[in-house]
Point group: C2
Chain length 307, copies 2
């Protein structure tokens, strides 16, 4: 059996992914699992990791490096890894990694730190995105500027080469989910959404959010009122809510995006497309970098830097 040189792991809140990496940095295997931090107790981690990769390793042999990023290093994770405080360089992620105990195993795991911003009034944290950012520096060499990372908690980052100057998290994705599921707006999302109707709602919502990001609290209720009064259907309402939230977020970040230059959007395709449309409506160009490509490139770069 051809064994990997080392194993790269992205351990998030919802999912866990592992890649076996060969001597020439090629991916030899990849495994995914839904055993994210949210479903695990501290003592579950060693067994879950072993089970995920055991089929790709012989019983005996030399120790195999495992480089892990993400929520495995959170306080509720496998082993808490202290944050690096911004401004900070991404060169030292591996140097600040910690080693969880893993007895009677060929695996030699290290968990990379996340980043924090401790300044009172601008407190913020990230775990996992710092590795994607390091990946960006290898996928788009010499990039400096603002990066947008859409997700449950979208991160906006000021990057200068490998130096993270500062960042801020927008709860937009999570606010969309809790309003969709738990607020009075849920009554407006019944029925099968029509794609064209949804696209129109998205455009209308982006325009409304960009035009008045300070009026989000009053514009939200329009979702419900428009379905009661203007016969708006589930597709338009869902598109409008999504667009309104993202438009307000982008509209509130004008001091970040005003400086010009193409903004890298690191994220999944569907969500990144919404942000790309909103940024374009605000006069800003963007290019998407797949989040999986970025995290894998980042894990490779972290290991190279520390090797």
């Amino acid at each position: 059996m051809a064994e990997p040189d080392w194993i790269a792991v992205d351990w998030g809140t919802s999912n866990l992914r592992a890649w076996g990496i060969g001597r020439d940095a090629e991916v030899m295997f990849s495994e995914t699992s839904d055993r994210g931090m949210g479903r695990l107790a501290r003592e579950d981690y060693p067994g879950v990791l072993m089970q995920l990769v055991a089929g790709h390793l012989a019983q005996d042999g030399a120790s195999v490096d495992v480089i892990i990023c993400g929520m495995a290093g959170a306080r509720q994770g496998w082993l808490e890894v202290p944050y690096l405080a911004t401004p900070t360089s991404l060169d030292d992620l591996l140097g600040k990694a910690v080693r969880p105990a893993l007895s009677a195993s060929r695996l030699s795991p290290r968990i990379l730190p996340g980043l924090c911003q401790a300044r009172p009034g601008a407190e913020d944290v990230m775990r996992g995105e710092e590795t994607q950012l390091l990946g960006l520096t290898t996928l788009v060499p010499n990039f400096s500027g603002v990066v947008c990372m859409p997700g449950t908690h979208c991160k906006w980052v000021r990057l200068d080469g490998r130096r993270v100057e500062g960042f801020t998290s927008a709860m937009t994705g999570e606010v969309f989910e809790v309003l969709r599921l738990h607020s009075v707006l849920r009554h407006s999302f019944t029925g099968e959404p029509d794609p064209a109707d949804r696209a129109q709602g998205l455009t209308d919502g982006l325009a409304a959010g960009l035009a008045a990001p300070d009026k989000l609290m009053t514009q939200l209720f329009r979702v419900r009122a428009a379905s009661l009064l203007s016969d708006r259907q589930a597709g338009w309402c869902a598109g409008y809510l999504s667009g309104l939230l993202v438009g307000s977020e982008i509209g509130g970040q004008r001091d970040w995006i005003g400086s010009g230059g193409e903004i890298p959007l690191i994220g999944g395709e569907a969500l990144a497309q919404i942000y790309a449309q909103g940024l374009a409506m605000a006069g800003v160009q963007s290019r998407r970098i797949d989040a999986t490509d970025a995290v894998l490139a980042g894990l490779k770069a972290a290991r190279s830097a520390g090797a």
Copy 2:
């Protein structure tokens, strides 16, 4: 048994209140129940109303008027009452009321309409607040200007005497609840909140929201980050979230409140106090009108106007 001349009813989403009103407009009894619209099917309404007031009526006698405002007139209520479209006068609420069927009873109920704003892009609805607004015109004669009505869906209304020019609803109260219960921020609210700590968080949150109402999506996550990094406790976090949401709402309404003049705050004491503090920080004076006083005055005024 001294019987009431008529019965005033405020039938909301969560609660139901009834007052027996005498010939001199005095309150002879009041009853409350948790049988709001949210817990009722259409066929439940007659029995719930009868049960609430039956003890105050003799078996036989003349028919007794019941004037009802609120969600009983909603599509999911007892009987849908068409909205009056703004701009509109509040003088004709009783004239546009509808009569639900109530056989074999001495009660003769009418449900008052709510208001809608049908203009595309500014769709909005209210049910119940229009009656509080009518009450305001008798409690504060000759008032014209902007009214703020804090609640689950806070209403901002432009009133010119008894004419409602327009209004907008802010989902602030509901957004607070869904984020507190269902988002990642819930982890920051464990433990007994300290009142002084909460007051400080409230002031900090109001200031943050007023300073940058367009940055709500990014400021929200600070609740979680501040508890992770700056050891903020449950009291501060809850106060900050509440203040941030209300401050953002008020900050986004500067085009409404800029014209000067004291703003009536119609609502419950605790929530109205938060709005009063936020308005004061924005340089605007306010006076609280109790929501129960306002709705009762409004139901009386509606019946007088139509008598």
